[in-house]
Symmetry: D3
């Protein structure tokens, strides 16, 4: 099985860290193909950047889709997710979307905890997009302050535990999603200190990619009514242009 | 890995059919432990029966939980699901709940298609319980008529395809859930005739069981704030009584 | 008129206190038949316990339904309510459900105030189950501390008044539900100190039982489409088994 | 006990019919005081008319509130309900509001059936106002045709039964509200022909008036934060002006 | 173009201030016709007063509708809005309704900030009536204290800025509505101090009146199915009576 | 005043037709600057195409924003709307978004009528994005058949009238949105035949652009908390790159 790990950000280090986690989970069940954007932004953090990165994600999947069974769009905010699910003849997993649905499969309510208030609105957009707002207990974030992305996992550890405790005890969240790529892999380390289940989005996304890939042999993408009709275009990257044009 | 396949109905044949499908999906990644209720009802089909079967599901999991990594409650309606997620220190998957979340991971909207109007209300209860009603396009069922459960898969095949087509083309469903144990395994067979993705609940539940089991090593169930306090009781089955009493 | 007051908990003292209040309201209009569970739990306080107590409530009603006009399931959380409404040919009142609908009949918004944070999640589940979340202003509870159930009404009186004032003045609740059996009867005593209407769930449930019983002569339960078909079963208490089997 | 039966329409015959039904239900438990509007419209049938009739309802209650324990606003659409609940120091019951909450106390879902499509939008407004839209299965009405209000109960009987059957069997409604004053009292007559519980709004309103009156001794209206501050006014009917001015 | 500026309050000074603002926006594109209620209340501040003022608004529009292109109901709470939209053959703008929709046209989420907690519930009712609650971040109001309506704009300026900052930074509101007639015109003055867009309801209402008047030539009000049938009445103000009777 | 009319499609004829309508509405109040995409698609008709066209809309606005007061994204589906509202320091109007809010300002409920079922899902996405689904009565579309975009206005006229009549009479829509660029300008022509108000999206968008531009002098975009921080990027069109980088 082949899973595309599509990082629509240009930061290779993020891809590497996510690749390590995803590979550990997939083991010998799947080959993880790490892809890092070669145009766009170092780190997507706004609706504007997500609008643009969404097309970049489509381009990356279009270019590497040959032989792939499923693709993970590996950025919170899930840029391009709805479009990719419409366009490609394989399952597409979004990192935030997968984290939220996985949380809903584990407990009655969930919350997001993260290291900066900067992303709150975006996380809330993500939750709303899943349709599961009624089960959300909101987003709690650390106070605004200068952040070293490389060490924030350690620097903010105690504050994150405290936020997760509040989300569980004050807001009643039964599952905590630890949001933000710089926190990838922290969940199991603080699990014992948090009175709720704690999940890591990239791990959840990998598990869900394996899950839907397990169903994929029985799914027939070719007959979908929602498949866009072939369409000519100007100015798109080659493989994406060809796919949309039906030149397959 | 060990997955309990808990059929809270007393019909062994249903367990067998689901076991076959689940085992094929799990392959050598997990041992599927099939369990059939020894008290209760041949086939749960009402809220009353689900109320009672919910306790039976708890009893079955309590008795066999030793060494298990995850349990599937393998009946549409997911009897006992919320209670089991509260009580047991492992992930619990509900068949309807897993089908709905999996559908939401594959496309923007979903519908349920089934072979008898008898279960419509229950399916709608299931969708509502997930919190995903805003993405549902409803339940379509075959006309009421006498049904031979053993052959309904073949007898109703054309009618089910027509219903699924309507759900896709008239209601706009992008994913179809084929509801009801007698239809287990039919999804891939009709996929090519339906202009939407078609999923089979027991397959979806197995894939989701594997997915959450993949996360389980990082989940710490022992610290959960929602874990019920130990409680004495009268009249419960032994292992369930002991677990609730904290005699573990 | 005959009203079953079904306490699915095993604590006789709770039944006695509720019986006194319900009898005072019913006067000579109805005979209140107090019933206390003989198996199950001293005091239901979790989803697990409610799952099991729901069946116990069904058993108790099945055993005493002869000659009864309506039954009250007298425990917050309303264990077994939806199943009982489906199964029995008479109206069934749930204590939390009745409190919420009565609150909605008295004012535009309502809140629940209670003496321990332990039950918050359950109260919220109850409100959600009624479908009236959009009119709820949430649950406010006293700080976590050791509680003597017998004296909490007096011990926590000032704190409860303060919480109710906040629910009214800060959250805008027009009606306050005083939740939890140990507070039964407290509502009228603190009414003058709270800038909102204050209601007592067991009183509300009794009034609603009388209300629906008033309609009952015009209701024909025998023709309901949602009545479950007769079904054989194994291991159920005799009267419940007989009723479900259609041996009436 | 004294219950004001406030008909904000000017048609005496409607008041008489509702008085007969309400009196039969109240028996010797309450005196029903029938009031018919002396200004306004023969029969309210639009938002405009309801806007105006709402003030008329306030005037009528203000004039007769001395000694009353509860008031019923006896017109579908519940004109003036929210204002009356704010203004008067006693419980106020709306006919549509009471029917919907009573339906919700009897079953999981409800629908309205009525004799003309003319009122559909208004009934839907009523349901929406209760906050219970998620439990509604909509409004079904007879085809548009000339109607003799005096005989529509008999003329439309078969069509209404058919509509109610469809609401129950096709839409899954467990309770049917028979909407519209000309149908008052029809519910019990057709109950045996409808596969759902059928309720009559004026009967439901009377039962709920008795229910909330039963709670009233414990309710303290004088301390409510939502009580409007005294306010001078120009041009209002005397008793309403005096009440709003705090000249009590 | 002729726009009725209908103040259903009796306070001339409020009309004057709103007229000044509206006229400045309309310039030579429209004649603003200021109307002040001659009966009713000095300042509407409750549901009761709004119920009555709604009819007064209908009377005022009915009397001056000749030659008018659109009417603004210029009081927060939008008394009579739904009825007026049904009754009159021209667009009707509500001040709160227009502010909320304009906010939604400018940004993803909005909040209301006002100078007294007294109106919170009413503002929340307004937001709910628009159907846009899911985009609301709530109402923040200054602490309760004696207020001089004439100078509150200056007296509360700093506190209002602080509240608006909190609504933007803590609640994530992208647009702030400055609620309450005494704050009319303050929005642009504090815009630079608030990290969100700030809008003034009467300005928003005037802009929306011009917008819908721009569409009005293409709207045919005479054929509307929702137009109430002509109806006789007793006791209404002459022009309103005549309009409802169809004597046009 | 200067309004950018941004057509993110490449079809000049559509821009011309919309320019004619918008100019007629704006008169001498605003200069309409018509812009047609020079890359992308002839006509956007899928989520994929909208994902890409969203970036194109951002590029077009970025390139021409100098001296503009407001921009209209003139394609149903509003590609790039949320991003553009975040990025640009001026109001951004979406054609579908404006049509829906304008409909909500004119009546209690609305529906969309269009000439092909192909766009139903997209129209529903648009309605959902506004948050006004509770006021929508859905989308009705002509049967699927070959369409000549140039003449569909005439060819489908009778069918569209019939659909609009059904939306009004069967679904209760008080306002009809005539969706799809090929129908631009048809609304006033059929208004007399439809028992509801009928609105044209491009006209509604132009009116709303003028409305928000009227407020714009009082809006301070420079202080917004939601303004993205300057960010370097690779591969973006020059003006968009510069704007995102803060090189202004």
């Amino acid at each position: 099985m082949r899973i595309l790990l599509v990082n629509p950000n240009m930061t290779q280090g993020m891809t590497d860290r996510m690749f390590t986690i995803a590979s550990a989970i997939a083991g010998d069940r799947a080959e993880i193909v790490p892809l890092t954007a070669t145009r766009g932004f170092p780190y997507i953090a706004s609706r504007t950047e997500a609008q643009i990165a969404g097309e970049i994600a489509l381009e990356m999947i279009a270019e590497h889709r040959e032989g792939a069974d499923v693709a993970i769009i590996a950025a919170f905010g899930d840029p391009g997710l709805a479009a990719a699910r419409e366009l490609f003849d394989m399952p597409i997993i979004g990192m935030a979307d997968a984290a939220v649905h996985t949380a809903a499969l584990l407990g009655g309510s969930f919350a997001v905890v993260t290291f900066t208030p900067f992303m709150n609105r975006w996380y809330e957009d993500c939750i709303k997009a899943t349709g599961l707002s009624s089960r959300s207990r909101g987003v709690r974030s650390a106070a605004e302050k200068p952040i070293d992305v490389a060490s924030v996992r350690d620097d903010a550890r105690e504050e994150l535990i405290a936020l997760a405790r509040d989300a569980a005890l004050k807001d009643g969240a039964e599952v905590i999603i630890l949001g933000g790529a710089p926190l990838a892999g922290l969940a199991p380390e603080i699990a014992a200190d948090v009175p709720a289940l704690v999940i890591d989005p990239i791990s959840a996304a990998t598990c869900q990619a394996l899950a839907v890939a397990g169903l994929a042999p029985g799914l027939d993408y070719s007959t979908r009514a929602t498949r866009p009709a072939p369409k000519s275009s100007v100015g798109l990257a080659g493989p994406l242009r060809a796919l949309i044009a039906g030149d397959v």
